[in-house]
């Protein structure tokens, strides 16, 4: 900023370039800035004290055993800390409401605007004061972090991998570094600026401090709330809804840094996200300046500065209130359509008039003008209900024409273990393998159409919500399908429970480059079950599910596996069995351990061929799956008990993706080390590390036989 603009000397005002009305738009008054700090010094002070006791003090007092506080430090640096997160949200609000009093208190507004200060100078000085009140405690806290910096080590994710791959002792990572302190300061400042900008924008649109607080609350939660409500309605009522798109989910979480922090579970925000928050905060401040410039100052002290905005905000809040109330009625009173509509109606009336009373500061809100406005709010709610509840757009019936389809992604057609491999990197996942075979596409379309028909059945939908006895009339031809013959009672009714229906997901790649997704949870007919079975028997489909060939095609540097078998220690397992682990003991010292629930053994990289053999055995089990038969035996259930679990780790020369690293960003108990979480690719000694796993059940005969050949029998106990 030009020094001449930040001046205590009144003569200096308006000297710099970029002038507007004789004064630069960046003009700032040091006099006002200092007066603000003289008046409101306690805001930064209290904020700093809270940061000190919430983050620095525990570090100072535990310097001797700081490694024990690595989790606390990690969380603090991610603002995932009981003190830091509230401070991040509320300090900017307090500062913004305080400095915006030049705009909300009439006596102060008149005094300041009649003094030799341009609007730009007043606004910039006030806003900068507030921002500095938020930023200075952060800066001081960062300096204190630097002053008390000491080595604080945590285990990295690589150590786990090295353990199973038989590598020497892994390196620990020091997370208490200047770089991480700088990252904390940068990310916190960016998020603080975002909140401060948002609250200041709210302040510029209203005429009182109370209204600023209320509107800030609306701004704070509006975007995630609306998306959350829309998601709730679609999931509950919109048949075929396949879940929120990744973009919408990112928006729901990312629209509010506080939600982002919570959903990150102690992981620091990426630089890109920080820059987005910073830019959004600055943009909000620019919008606030524009709103202030456009505002008629005679409205200072009124609830809202702009009449149009008053209606928009009323509609927004009414919509959220009405739809949320509808859901509350629906879940708490009864899960019926009339209850939902009653809830929406009650919520709309209550929210609308409460908002109007607050804005008008009077209970005389039952005017003709307001009733028209209420009608518009009701229309917005009706439109929403028409789309989500009544499916006005025909969302659930839509099946793309064959000519529009480029391919289909292997869908999660059943819960019978066809997607056996869990936690795979995105490139290897079945749902990301595009099938372009026209026969397969047609079968998927046919199944899709069947699902559309099946999901229309209200009796079935009702049974889905309340599992219990389902009479034959609930099925299209009036009798229980053969596939449910093992699940009927003496009267011939289906005993419906959570295992009686399946979720079929459809994901088409269209020729225009777009995706088309649908998901149906429905009871099956024999025709649908046979269609799924046919589809799963197709080699093009099986190729998407199996892994052995894909792994071999990769430049795998090392591969290892940890095999666990589960049992209940009722004496049926001889934990001293000399065959268990004997063969591999020399390769992997300390790898054999047992407890009352499971034991395990490790195949190191030296036994890579055996790991591949194990995967191929599993692949064979996958190829021999028969959905129809499985669904029948699924009724018997005993085949589905998990007998064991195989955890495979592998390293590749080239990166498959980065996504797999972000799947396990840490937890409350063992947060991912900062340095390892986002930058693990660069931290690892060589290659790209991935892991995945699969369950072993009684039906996986080839896998069980292969393990038995290795001398590791599974299938004891229950």
């Amino acid at each position: 900023m030009n020094n001449k603009n930040l001046s205590t000397n009144p003569q200096a005002a308006g000297i710099a370039g970029g002038k507007r009305g004789g004064t630069s738009i960046f003009a700032c008054s040091l006099t006002l800035l200092l007066e603000n700090f003289k008046l409101y010094w306690y805001i930064p002070l209290l904020s700093f004290v809270a940061y000190f006791f919430g983050g620095i003090f525990p570090i100072i007092t535990h310097r001797e055993n700081i490694d024990d506080y690595s989790g606390f430090l990690t969380n603090s640096f991610a603002n995932y800390n009981v003190a830091y997160l509230p401070l991040l949200v509320f300090v900017p609000l307090i500062a913004s409401v305080t400095v915006m009093n030049f705009y909300h208190r009439q006596d102060r507004a008149i005094a300041l605007h009649s003094q030799p200060l341009s609007k730009s100078r007043i606004f910039n000085s006030q806003i900068l004061s507030g921002w500095l009140m938020c930023a200075l405690p952060l800066l001081l806290t960062a300096l204190l972090y630097l002053c008390f910096m000491t080595e604080c080590n945590v285990y990295t994710v690589t150590e786990y991998d090295n353990f199973y791959s038989g590598s020497p002792a892994a390196q620990s990572v020091n997370i208490y570094t200047a770089a991480n302190i700088a990252r904390w300061l940068g990310s916190t400042s960016a998020m603080m600026t975002f909140f401060y900008g948002l609250y200041t924008l709210a302040g510029a649109l209203v005429g009182t401090g109370i209204m600023q607080v209320l509107l800030s609350g609306v701004f704070f939660g509006a975007c995630p709330m609306i998306l959350f409500i829309a998601q709730g309605y679609c999931q509950e009522f919109l048949r075929g809804y396949s879940g929120m798109s990744q973009t919408a989910e990112n928006l729901m979480i990312g629209a509010n840094p506080a939600v982002q922090i919570i959903s990150n579970f102690g992981e620091m925000l990426s630089l890109k996200l920080c820059l987005i928050y910073l830019a959004a905060g600055v943009l909000a401040l620019v919008l606030a300046r524009l709103a202030y410039g456009k505002a008629k100052l005679e409205k200072v002290g009124d609830s809202m500065m702009f009449r149009t905005l008053e209606e928009l905000i009323t509609w927004l809040i009414s919509f959220v209130g009405a739809t949320a109330c509808g859901m509350i009625f629906y879940y708490l009173l009864s899960e019926t359509l009339p209850t939902l509509l009653l809830g929406v109606f009650v919520g709309l009336l209550a929210t609308y008039f409460v908002v109007k009373i607050i804005i008008a500061k009077s209970v005389k809100v039952f005017t003709k003008r307001n009733l028209i406005s209420l009608g518009i709010a009701a229309l917005i709610c009706l439109l929403f209900l028409a789309v989500t509840v009544f499916d006005l757009t025909g969302y659930h019936k839509r099946v793309p024409a064959e000519s529009r389809i480029t391919g289909v992604y292997a869908a999660d057609l059943s819960p019978d273990g066809n997607n056996a491999y869990l936690g795979l990197p995105a490139a290897l996942r079945a749902e990301n393998q595009l099938i372009t075979d026209p026969v397969a596409i047609e079968k998927v379309r046919k199944l899709h159409k069947l699902c559309v028909e099946l999901s229309k059945n209200e009796m079935q939908l009702s049974a889905l919500r309340r599992s219990g006895i389902m009479k034959p009339e609930a099925f299209p031809d009036g009798k229980i399908p053969e596939i449910y013959k093992n699940s009927t009672d003496n009267a011939g009714n289906l005993i419906a429970d959570s295992m009686s229906y399946v979720t079929c997901r459809f994901h088409y790649q269209l020729q225009n480059g777009k995706s088309f997704k649908r998901s149906f949870t429905c009871f099956l007919t024999d025709e649908a079950a046979e269609l799924i079975t046919e589809l799963q028997a197709m080699p093009v489909y099986q190729d998407t599910l199996t892994l052995g060939d894909k792994l071999k095609a990769l430049d795998v540097l090392s591969i290892s596996a940890n095999v666990e078998r589960y049992y209940i220690d009722d004496g049926t397992v001889d934990t001293e069995d000399p065959t268990v682990g004997e063969e591999y003991e020399a390769d992997a010292p300390e790898v054999m351990y047992q407890d009352s629930d499971y034991d395990s053994f490790v195949l190191t990289n030296k036994d890579a061929e055996k790991v591949y053999g194990l995967i191929e055995a599993m692949d064979q089990d996958i190829r021999e799956q028969n959905f129809y038969q499985n669904f029948l035996t699924y009724r018997l259930r005993e085949d589905r008990y998990t007998l064991g679990y195989v955890d495979v780790s592998f390293t590749t020369q080239t990166s498959l993706d980065r996504e797999s690293f972000n799947q396990n960003p840490g937890s409350w108990d063992s947060p991912m080390p900062l340095a390892a979480s986002r930058t693990s690719v660069t931290n690892l000694p060589a290659g790209n590390h991935y892991s995945f796993g699969f369950d072993i059940s009684k039906s996986d005969k080839h896998t069980l036989a292969y393990l038995a050949d290795l001398g590791y029998s599974i299938g004891y106990g229950n």
Partner: protein, 234 residues
């Protein structure tokens, strides 16, 4: 010179100033009179740069006051609703004013503070309404403005203070050609200090003229004649 030409101002849909014009010659004291809600305060708030008219022009020395920092240094406005920073004393307020107004006269400030019997170290927030008016007046006069805008300046002041205030105003008008625009209901008070008078009703100027030319008619009689009723406050 203050020049207001065909100014119209709406609050929402309600016209507060309606095609209003007036001229205040340099070095004069112009009295604005009118019933409550006539638009006096609104007019002064326009002149101070706080409000902006819907149409028409307002100029002081030929310049628009809005966002004009250089011009605002010469214009002081004492509104009816006074504002001082919370917890500030007159001395602290004077330090703030000194930074804003280049012609700040410390000696005058001290002299006036003494004359009005105000404690410069005391918290202004603890002052009575009248004392706050005196404090605001001391600060304004010490800034040595060329234009002084006063909204109901004598409300709540005792006769002695009113007399002192009148004297300071007259002296500055005589010595420095300060221009004063003052609004009041008090016809008697206005008669004592003003050269010119303007009577507003419903945002319109219903009378404007030199006070000497009115003689022997009193201002109160004129007020009643123009507005058709008794002045609200005397």
């Amino acid at each position: 010179m203050i020049k207001i030409e065909h100014v119209t101002k709406y609050f929402e849909d309600y016209p507060v100033l309606n095609d209003l014009s007036l001229t205040v010659p340099k070095g004069s004291i112009y009295g604005l009179m009118g019933l409550n809600g006539a638009g006096k305060t609104t007019l002064l708030r326009h002149l101070s740069g706080f409000l902006r008219q819907n149409s028409g022009s307002i100029s002081i020395d030929g310049q628009d006051i809005t966002d004009n920092e250089a011009l605002k240094r010469q214009v002081l406005f004492i509104p009816d609703e006074l504002f001082f920073f919370r917890g500030y004393s007159m001395t602290e307020m004077s330090r703030y004013y000194r930074k804003l107004y280049p012609r700040w006269n410390e000696a005058r400030f001290e002299e006036m503070t003494r004359d009005f019997g105000l404690d410069p170290k005391a918290n202004i927030g603890k002052f009575s309404k009248g004392m706050k008016k005196q404090a605001a007046f001391c600060l304004a006069m010490a800034a040595m403005p060329d234009y002084l805008l006063l909204d109901e300046p004598v409300d709540g002041l005792d006769p002695i203070v009113r007399h002192k205030l009148r004297r300071y105003l007259m002296d500055d008008v005589a010595d420095r050609e300060m221009t004063v625009l003052v609004s009041s209901h008090n016809a008697k008070e206005m008669e004592d200090i003003c050269n010119y008078i303007g009577i507003l009703a419903k945002g319109k100027m219903v009378f404007e003229g030199d006070l000497l030319e009115l003689l022997p008619t009193s201002l109160e009689e004129l007020f009643i004649e123009k507005l058709g009723g008794e002045p609200r406050e005397q």
